[in-house]
């Protein structure tokens, strides 16, 4: 179908928003480096948006972009910018984003209790990241379909057919049969698990450690089971 070679569709993506009162390169570099050290894998190549709402300075966006790249972050745009900031950001090839309803004006201020005083102290970095979310699939995942829950748990109400793939950075819960592939902890977190109601998988993997179906064809084949990483190997156990 040739008319499908180009399509533009609106979508919503979760983005981390950076609030920081001092956007000078040197201060931001040390603060961000410290922040990233706490969870390097979590923010690896994460798309970020800078919130300029409380900031009237005119930062050097080209230099900021460079800094983010060096820190293995992706600066995609700015929000809450004034006219001069907007122009400068656009000049540097950044997107100017309209803040969502929940983030406009003062709505963001009273919500979290702890960040507020932190932000009043000069040059503190607060990265707001949505809590580990869940992606919920209500129907069966059919052969040939692939579902990826980025930075989230994946919950599937139906079955996962042979030749289908379900992937999550978090845990995977399948309330039907698992006949395809299930890959949990896809971004490298080996504490994630796979739960399913009927284990007949082609492949299960946790943080890159995988079992093919022959390793699963024992006691738990066709039964409810949980897969987890323990010590140096995958472990299968009963669900209840």
């Amino acid at each position: 179908m040739s008319e499908h070679s180009l399509e533009l569709k609106g979508s919503l993506f979760p983005l981390s928003v950076l609030h920081c009162s001092d956007l000078s390169i040197s201060s931001l570099q040390s603060l961000l480096t410290a922040k990233l050290a706490q969870a390097p894998a979590f923010f690896y190549q994460a798309p970020l948006v800078i919130n300029l709402q409380d900031n009237d300075s005119n930062p050097d966006f080209a230099a900021l972009k460079q800094l983010f790249t060096e820190l293995k972050l992706v600066l995609v745009g700015v929000t809450g910018a004034n006219a001069a900031q907007k122009a400068a950001a656009q000049q540097a090839g950044l997107a100017v984003l309209q803040a969502g309803k929940s983030n406009t004006a003062k709505a963001v201020e009273p919500a979290p209790q702890s960040p507020a005083p932190e932000r009043s102290a000069p040059a503190q970095v607060v990265v707001q990241q949505q809590a580990m979310d869940s992606k919920i699939v209500e129907q069966n995942v059919r052969s040939g379909q692939q579902i990826y829950a980025k930075g989230a748990d994946l919950i599937i109400k139906g079955a996962v057919g042979a030749g289908a793939e379900v992937i999550a950075d978090g845990n995977i819960h399948i309330y039907g049969s698992l006949r395809g592939k299930a890959i949990a902890g896809a971004s490298g977190d080996s504490s994630k698990r796979i739960y399913c109601y009927n284990m007949q998988a082609e492949l299960v993997s946790i943080a890159g450690n995988y079992w093919l179906s022959h390793s699963l064809q024992g006691e738990f084949w066709g039964k409810p089971a949980c897969i987890r990483w323990q010590g140096e190997s995958l472990v299968i156990s009963e669900l209840v």
Binding site: M1, Q139, R142, G144, A162, S177, R179
Partner: protein, 269 residues
Amino acid sequence: MAKIIVVTSGKGGVGKTTSSAAIGTGLALAGKKTVIVDFDIGLRNLDLIMGCERRVVYDFVNVINGEANLKQTLIKDKRVDNLFILPASQTRDKDALTKEGVERVLNELSAEFDFIICDSPAGIESGAMMALYFADEAVVVTNPEVSSVRDSDRILGMLSSKSRRAEQGLEGIKEHLLLTRYNPERVIKGEMLSVEDVKEILAIELVGVIPESQAVLNASNSGQPVILDEESDAGQAYLDTVKRLLGEAVPFRFLTVEKKGFIKRLFGG
């Protein structure tokens, strides 16, 4: 407004065209004005199964290109009232179908008919996508063996993501499972998946089970939809299937091994 039903499977040779012909004929027998559209451009078969291959003048691609109108192209069945066939082109390939063209033809048919049966080609490429895109309901033809079941699963995924109903966020296509070439003897021997196995894997509602039958081959060779062979088990199973499609609750038959005498009578004659 006609109801558009696609007969599809993913895998080839499982009985899509046989089932399209039988179901279309059955709906017409039930008094519904029905047209069967052959989407298998380049591998025209429906006209053979329906026994009207010598009456094909214009085809689906001619209508899409505006070289003929529907009235000139539709072939009226000589045996059953209310039954028409829109044949495929044998000389073109599947890229000759455009979404706009197909939509225009289906809209035109929709104004006149109660049911439009779209006989899909095998595969998951543009031809098959075109056949299922505008569907309201789908009959997924499956043989009781693993490769056919897996391909059906794939097509079910496409029905729920690639159809017009999916793209426009409407209520999804109503999916029916039609199990063909079912042989209870071979199921007992473990050579074939059982109805329950297939239902469990595909998790959609069963609309019919057609037994493996010599009658199907005979019907195809003679250009008679098998549903017109009311003596045969396959013909009766298709009649049941059509009743279920029309919303009637009919118990399933031919799921267990028949008495020897019956089988003999069937194959002996």
